[in-house]
Amino acid sequence: MIPAGVSIEEIFLLAAALFVVLAIVMFYRAVAGPTTQDRLLAVNVLGTNTVVILALLAAGLDEPWFLDIALIYALLNFLMAVAISKFTVERGGVL
Amino acid sequence: MAGNRVLVPLSDTVTVRQTVSYAVRSGLEDADSLEVHLVVALPHDTEVPEGDEQREEANQLLARARRWLAEDAGDADVTVESAVLGDDEYLFGPRDYADAFEEYADEHGVDLVVIDPEYKPGVTSSILQPLERELDAAGLSYDEAAVERPARHERLVGEGTERFDRYFALFWISFGFYLVLGDPTYWFDLVTGVAVAGIVSASLANVTFSFPLDRIESPIRTVRFAFYVPYLIWEIVKANVAISVVILRPSMPIAPTITRVNTRVRSGLPLLALANSITLTPGTLTVRANDQRLIVHTLIPSAREDLFDGSLERAVRFVFNGRESARIPSPRERGDAEIIGGDEL
């Protein structure tokens, strides 16, 4: 039984809004730190959240190409986490 | 100099025959008698199911090497000792091998280690370079056997099918992925798909597959992996609920500990699968994966108990080695799991 007046698109948009709120909450950790890794972790989580938000928007606004961006964002997010955690290590790991 | 004692680690490579004769030749150059210690280092101990099979192979190899030695030595004064190393421990990285060799060398007063340039113990890829470094660190002198180029050529031919397998596998993986992304009925996608898959397999085949593919085993592993995924997801959900309960409780009763678990999975893909599964299961986080020694941070006691029970490890062993090898004792029973302090990270 689908409730009247509620569409799936609206649910997705609402969920995306709530995800944004959660992302803002997590932003506290990105600002507060206190270590580089804490910030990195927070940004990584924010990145995952962004991917989800993009996917929800893709479904909610019916713009499938948002998913392309979400995929790229996920890739860059992974690369960012690996790269920065590599370079925070003493000797820079490779550089 | 009265006599030389050399240690020759053997493994089943195409240059092993030449290595043995090199050891004899070079050993007899500056001494009139020679004592050759032939050893095979086993990567697995006898506790794991595949250990027995490997032991059998090792003994056969040793028997062959003894015959070769007898041939090469002729009437020179050569004595042979042979041994199988590592059946009471689990050898993993180059350092473990170096340690095992050093221990043996100390015991028998060996002066020199002669290494096969293609030395490849077990199933993992060549570890020659790191092994040499570890031998240096252990203070053991070594000599790389001078094997002839024909052997190298032979190796390439021998590896031909293996290389083909890699290119072939990656080509179809890439092509399949391309068609999933695109439209399999549109000619443009089919043509560009072939081109893209060609480029991808040519550039990345040897990067992606660092291990030899097995024509029979690899597809079976893929199938078994498909069974593993639902199990993993179930574990993840279960553990997530447990962790959520703990975190959302106002008192937040966490008990973080650092634990060390010595796993019994191969490096590379099995290790990745296990480490990532451990990380994906909330409550446990792989902090370090130095070869088979995983340092795992656990958040709540129940997660730690699950880790020590080793259900994920068994599942990963099932995926990569089949049902038989999944029946091993849990890390707790093996004594491979311990809680360590945070300063030992």
Binding site: W65, V94 | F177, T192
Partner: protein, 166 residues
């Protein structure tokens, strides 16, 4: 039991990271090429495709070390990539002029060869944008990784000039 002491001289990336990069790399490379080739269909497609191809290389560089990757991927190859991108871009543009249109006026192709507008776009997207973006991402990364030593400067500025054409 800490075994890090003797590993100092050869810091390698964790096996976990290395293996997952090995697994992901072919998929991202395929995906990047897919996006480049279908760039004309989606907004910004080729740019992202090129970026993914570039990022794949960077990922490999992180996992395997920058020097081995640099050796694997010849410097001249990357420069060639960018040059080819620029050449295709300009070539397509000039071809339209040669056929009596304006720079990059694809309609000229339609009249002459009877092929759709789409293919001119495709050439620009694939050749022009994707190759250049991938090449620039890789080049910039390796140039940065090499550090700004005076003897490396000449090469960098040369590459910067090439990329300015975009």
């Amino acid at each position: 039991m800490s075994r890090t002491d003797t590993y100092d001289d050869t810091y390698t990336e964790s096996q976990v990271i290395m293996t997952s990069v090995r697994i992901i790399a072919p998929f991202t490379l395929t995906y990047g090429m897919f996006m480049s080739l279908h760039g004309a269909d989606t907004p910004g497609g080729s740019f992202q495709g090129g970026a993914i191809i570039g990022v794949t290389v960077l990922m490999l560089a992180f996992a395997f070390g920058i020097e081995p990757t640099r050796r694997w991927l010849k410097n001249s190859f990357v420069v060639g990539l960018v040059t080819a991108g620029v050449a295709i871009f300009i070539g397509t543009g000039l071809a339209t002029i040669a056929l009596g249109g304006n720079f990059l006026e694809y309609d000229a192709f339609v009249e002459t060869f009877g092929i759709a507008h789409y293919w001119g776009m495709e050439a620009i997207e694939v050749g022009g944008v994707a190759l250049i973006v991938a090449g620039v991402v890789i080049t910039l990364f390796f140039a940065t990784a090499a550090g700004f030593t005076p003897d490396g400067r000449g090469e960098e500025s040369y590459q910067a000039e090439v990329t300015d054409d975009d």
